[in-house]
Subunit: 246 residues, 2 copies
């Protein structure tokens, strides 16, 4: 039995509470904590725009771990990945379609700080550039980065123990997205990464992931309009997110 | 910087080739191999019935890593999880709807041994019980276990280095599935687990996973007919599968 195999079996067993590999679990426990960033009892909050919102129920928003409240996208799928492993979590979604960083800030007390998350995941940015491009917003990439840094400084000041997950904004070259979005869009990606590094957050590189994914299937397969993921795109995001926090 | 954080960052960085956490990657490399069972250059084969088949293209079946050839289910989603991390793989799907263990055996030379997989994943069993229950098949759980053991002995004899992944058969209590399936179905689950243990395979406990998932959303949300997963069910399976082999 190699260490590698022991590690694998630990992962499989830890993921579902199987007793089959209990001796291996004990052996490998010290080197590879199965839960990573997320621990039993934690409140996990997903924040963002329409990609996070995904039709979530406002009526049920106060109920943790509720599918309708978590929507139909990566947030629900990531929650399911987590909760089938660690049932003792409270997972919420407060994404709102169309939002940019400054709109998160406007509702941050009620929609983040009041929930006292232990783990806070944010995916924001595509509207910051999209609404600028279509003339509905005058913010620049510098405004995006400044507002995002300010939001996280406020967050950490209010909740010094919070664990942050910053997700890379992404687009796929189809639907609403064409080559004219680049290299401007790369500037927003780089800004999000700097924000994550400054805040010592886990960074989930969704755009890089989709750049690899379009070698397997068309951009439309992952997100028909180039912005809003299909179930396949959302599943890939949820897996990447869950891997990143583990 | 704790070991836990280093492990997390290793996982996140390894998953997408990010350079952000390179110092942590070096630090943790020896304790937690990021790729686990699957290594660059490997051939990965998914085998099974309709849950694996999921409308895959027969015309394109010989093309590795092709979405049409991999179908619309957990096999494609798991392949995408793997391939966005490790592009240098060849992933195939040879699931065929309606098949039971003996029918895998009938086509094993062409649909498994000839492909020379390094990693072989099998999900089989629901038809072995379903077709028995509806009078179309006279095999019992003992026949299932015997045929399955024989198939794996033949496989390992032909390919001593193959790494095996055995997936637990699962059903959800909705659609075609009612309480009368139990405890008989649990016998098939237990048989699959014994088969996995005997073959020293990684075991992916899908039924246990779905038992946890129905606390988050209705059985129909995961699989409308109780047998064939929705995109949400398939995404959860793909994540669990990928976790288990890492």
């Amino acid at each position: 039995m190699t260490n590698r195999r022991s590690f694998l079996q630990t992962t499989a067993a830890a993921a579902f509470g199987s007793a089959a590999f209990s001796s291996q679990v004990t052996q490998a426990e010290s080197s590879a904590p199965p839960n990573g960033l997320v621990h039993p009892g934690d409140v996990v909050l997903f924040q963002g725009d329409s990609i996070t919102d995904t039709g979530r129920s406002r009526d049920k928003a106060a109920e943790p771990n509720n599918q309708a409240a978590l929507g139909n996208g990566y947030a629900f799928m990531a929650a399911a990945n987590l909760l089938t492993n660690t049932p003792d979590l409270k997972v919420f979604n407060r994404g709102i379609s169309g939002h940019k960083v400054f709109q998160l800030a406007d509702r941050w007390q009620a929609d983040c700080l009041d929930l006292q998350p232990n783990v806070l995941s944010i995916l924001i940015g595509v509207n910051d550039i999209w609404h600028k491009r279509n003339g509905k917003y005058d913010g620049t990439v510098e405004v995006y980065e400044r507002d995002y840094n300010t939001l996280l400084e406020r967050t950490v000041k209010a909740m010094p123990q919070v664990k942050l997950v910053i997700c890379e904004p992404f687009v796929l070259r189809c639907g609403a997205i064409d080559d004219s979005w680049f290299p401007e869009f790369d500037g927003y990606r780089a800004a999000a990464k700097r924000v994550a590094e400054k805040a010592k957050a886990v960074f989930v590189p969704f755009h890089s992931m989709f750049e690899a994914a379009v070698k397997l299937a068309s951009p439309e397969h992952w997100a028909k309009d180039g912005v809003h993921p299909s179930p396949y795109g959302a599943a890939l995001m949820a897996h990447a997110w869950t891997q990143a926090v583990r």
